[in-house]
Symmetry: C2
Subunit: 254 residues, 2 copies
DNA sequence: CGCGGAATTGAAAATACTCAAAATTAGTGG
DNA sequence: CCACTAATTTTGAGTATTTTCAATTCCGCG
């Protein structure tokens, strides 16, 4: 039985809104995208709860049984795989509005680790209940399929990056990708904070930390970007985009 | 109204079986996995038809509007992305029982090209009709989610391969992966035909064709494998598995 | 102020690439 | 079925990009 939202004088109380997807700044990007009020209410009712994580805290671990998907309310995460030899590969950096845990559906166990890059908060979405809801809210199901498919294409893009691109192009793609995602969230596409260490960047891009550092220095020297600690400013986004697309080459490292 | 299967004297006619998932040798691996007879019949009814492709023929092309998923009945395919600069990256090799086209759901257009590596046949599965069926057959929906999730984890494994592994380890992973997939289909895990060119292998593994050729020669000389044209035999699968896992190193190339 | 982790920079080394040539294989037509 | 041609694959030698190892600097934090 869905509990009516208007159980107080005002049709929607502030406290109810706070716990609702409708009141979340990410709902345009997240799972409830495109749902009407009624369906959002239904989704709200299955959300298991919120979970806050401190920097470096782990949301889930490889091989743990799969119960929830997680929607990031704020903060940043990294996901990484560990192989038999203990080496890890970061498979993605996720930010607010993005969904974590979809790789766990196939085997009913998590396939990677997810760790907060800064203090963050997620919504827990019990997958079994979400599946029940799919039968009642076709719009939600369709959007869920789009999100999963998007994850597939995102990973294909990373495969292209790792399989085909030189270091400088990989790094340009990385910067432009972050830029676009911040833009989609209403933040500046030109200036942003790197939430991950150089080591994480290198691991993700299939490069060593030293290579990443050299790349940063080189781009700086070329005047493409300016860097202050983890704050990056894209001074020549057009050139960076061209480099990311493979249209333009950077001069060799001196 | 599902048409009853027993509309002739025999409960299931040979011709009906031929067009049915139930009669397909791949139904244990493919979309209808785990469905009962009734639900298989429902799935059969939405299958658009079969399509045969000659070697090198294209099943779909990047940016084409998305209508169907494709289940491979027999044969092999490769999927590849093309970037702005025209370079391509093979994102996977698919064989009988595997599903093609899931990356197209997110944007309603295909995100890559799919090309037959040999004469092949696929089932066309109109996605809109499949979505309708999801509401009626929850088992089918659950299995579809598993398949999509499996594609996500598969790609994560490739990211690990491309980002973290040396050439010889990549190649060992490639061989062991093929071996396991043929085993799952009832074929020999020790001896199989490579359906793709050396160039395709190299492209997929982020290596040049020359490197692949050298790797083959080296593995041959070590006695791990024997090679005759495109026929490969794994002589030391345990060693190859260890190398794929990163437990064992191969001697350097002389 | 000093410690420790993170990041930068330099020099040497290694892996994989490029270019080139030879060998093998596949495809085609007689 | 064979011969011829084109395409693919193999092998070699030299090169380049990126890694490794090492030293230093920078920065946050107690």
């Amino acid at each position: 039985m869905p509990q009516p939202l208007n159980f107080v004088a005002e049709p929607i109380s502030v406290s109810a809104l706070k716990k609702s997807c409708a009141g979340c700044s990410m709902h345009q990007l997240c799972l409830p995208m495109g749902l009407d009020d009624e369906d959002i209410t239904r989704l709200d009712q299955i959300i298991g709860g919120r979970r806050r994580l401190a920097r470096d805290e782990r949301l889930y671990k490889m091989d743990e049984p799969f119960r929830n998907l997680y929607a990031i309310r704020f903060g940043h995460f990294k996901t990484y795989q560990v192989n038999a030899a203990g080496e890890q590969q970061i498979t993605g950096f996720q930010m607010a509005g993005e969904l974590l845990g979809m790789d766990a559906i196939s085997a009913d166990r998590h396939h990677c680790d997810a760790v907060a890059l800064e203090d963050s908060e997620v919504c827990e979405i019990p997958f079994t209940r979400l599946e029940e809801l799919f039968g009642q809210v076709p719009t939600l199901l369709r959007h869920f399929h789009r999100i999963m498919s998007q994850e597939i294409t995102r990973e294909q893009n990373v495969m292209l990056l790792l399989g085909n691109m030189r270091a400088e192009q990989r790094f340009a793609v990385f910067l432009i990708n972050l830029s676009a995602r911040y833009a989609a969230r209403g933040y500046s596409p030109h200036s942003f904070q790197l939430r991950m260490s150089r080591e994480d960047i290198g691991n993700y891009l299939g490069l060593t930390i030293e290579s990443v550092s050299r790349l940063l220095s080189r781009f700086k020297k070329q005047g493409w970007i300016s860097v202050d600690k983890r704050e990056v400013t894209l001074l020549e986004p057009a050139h960076l985009k061209a480099m990311a697309a493979g249209t333009e080459q950077c001069s060799p490292m001196n």
